[in-house]
Subunit: 391 residues, 2 copies
Amino acid sequence: MNALPAASQPLNQSVTLCVDAPMRLDSGLELGPITVAYQTIGRLNAERTNAILICHALTGDQHVIGPHPVTGRPGWWETLVGPGKTIDTDRYFIICSNVLGGCLGTTGPKEINPATGKPWGLGFPVITIGDMVRAQALLLDHLGIDRLFCAIGGSMGAMQVLQWAVSYPERVRAVVPIAGSWRHSAQNIAFHEVGRQAIMADPDWNGGDYLNQGTVPRRGLAVARMTAHITYLSEPALQSKFGRKLQDRASVTYGFDADFQVESYLRHQGANFVKRFDANSYLYITRAMDYFDLAAEHDGVLARAFQGTKVRFCVVSFTSDWLFPTAESRAVVRAMNAAAADVSFVEVTTDKGHDAFLLDEPEFHDTLQGFLDGAADMFGLPRGLFSGIRP
Amino acid sequence: MNALPAASQPLNQSVTLCVDAPMRLDSGLELGPITVAYQTIGRLNAERTNAILICHALTGDQHVIGPHPVTGRPGWWETLVGPGKTIDTDRYFIICSNVLGGCLGTTGPKEINPATGKPWGLGFPVITIGDMVRAQALLLDHLGIDRLFCAIGGSMGAMQVLQWAVSYPERVRAVVPIAGSWRHSAQNIAFHEVGRQAIMADPDWNGGDYLNQGTVPRRGLAVARMTAHITYLSEPALQSKFGRKLQDRASVTYGFDADFQVESYLRHQGANFVKRFDANSYLYITRAMDYFDLAAEHDGVLARAFQGTKVRFCVVSFTSDWLFPTAESRAVVRAMNAAAADVSFVEVTTDKGHDAFLLDEPEFHDTLQGFLDGAADMFGLPRGLFSGIRP
């Protein structure tokens, strides 16, 4: 981190918005004021045209570049974001905000409800992907950015950037949904429901009031994470990484310890996750994903969502992703084509499953690089390092 | 049920075995006496050559034909087993026993440990697929059946019948492993581990001692079942059956109720399962599946497991089964071929996923019918109804 030039150091900030008037949510409820915690990297050019919004996934956060304040680990997209990297912080001004309903500084169920002086818990209103994006738009207002050069996101981030294109087509030039879909499938809703049931089954969840009760539903949240984690990988990747290898033992123990490496790995994933994530946030954010359906908002015809759009799209999927399989990206692309939108589509061959968007995948990075370069040139963004402001 | 001729009525019995000498388990521990609960249907011919052993799956039991003693519902394989059906009870003598470690009458963790006078709980020894098959062989001894005409099973049942071919090649003429594998994959171990963690996370599990403590780990077991249930279906089947359809409501409720039909369905699956299944049995049986690896017992070379076998095999897989994908059956077939075994292989096209083996799948039924007819003719079994004994 310290080797980065000053302009490429991440700035972690937060701002309180909707102070005068609350935000209207898709549910019809109102919420405000809201705090949005965000990270910026790089400098905004004088024309304010080089901003890239990065939208994080379900369990991600604003710390694209580390160190992470809780885990101390590198940011979740350091493979992709930095000076001279695919998302070049010498060229672009990067913004990533913790989503509404999140648990790393943005208003969510673990924050204090001003009306009660206590954590919201289940009193927090159920939010949608649309609400998350609305909060991001308010953040851009605050930063003085009328129009994004690009919105990029994987998984739930892909849902957000598609929502950006639909809700604010005038405010974003290019959109890159990676490993995403226009709606959550039945199987994905099912996996989310299992995770929620695991959390709610934990007596330490206390009907969602655990922060006031002084408990933490660690076991339930860990089980939720373990289930979800399997879906982020691929069967071939699990097989080649772990297979039936045993964990620090020569033979099975005829017991319920983690005999197999894959068991030990999963337990480790669960245990680490509960240190950094709030169980109620997990409920709210999974629910927002379940509710996401861009076609439903347009009489069931997805193409209508993109009618007349001037946004340039680059849709990316991964061959071994079974959580958001290529067929779903293909359906999005078909709808964009039907709306005569400007879209390119790349299915990246990889055995790394859904999580490939977080990993070092040269074909994916090259695809993104090519798209960003082309779009930047078309929109007249200067190449190379420049001086600018850090709003 | 009452319409069935007397010979086709199921007989539910149990027998206590290993009274004089305990059974030696793969773990090296000894267990005995053991009780085996089993169902028979049809009549054993005078030559005792027409017996088919049906091996049940993880959460199955001996009630191939109903009514089930707990749920009152039909048996789990009534689509396939009955007079004139694919597995013709007019022609064959059917045996299905509750597996060792099970919870419907066979010795398992919920039964009384004679040494303590209390339920075994986690004091029950960890058993393997090999141990399950050993107990079945003892049952056949008791029934006076030296050699099975056929052993048939799906999922964990497929593991057992493959183990039969390997452990007792002289005692079985034909073997039909359906939707199975020669070993549990990393992904499958991972899903099992999540289920076990869900059970163990439930405080009502009480370290496995819940029967003595008067509690039932319902919530944990339900979560385990819900997770597993998703893996038994296919994404296309979930999509076509449920999609994003709402449960008895016109629009989402912006809450955590089961808004979607798929959520309601899963909750229902979980709630029903805990009424009929024991949580510790779930731990033991999943563990037995995880430990299953026919190649490992043969220096990692699966073909050696089948060397010199005279068993006729019919391997069946389903295109949309992602729990035991066709590739695993294909690997089994390759090993059988390498051992010059007599094997036919059919991949059935279906969108019903792993559970297709339980459902009305004409192509699967026709395949099985053809194989059984051919094998029965080859082995000189008389066709049609005959009188025989019910041992």
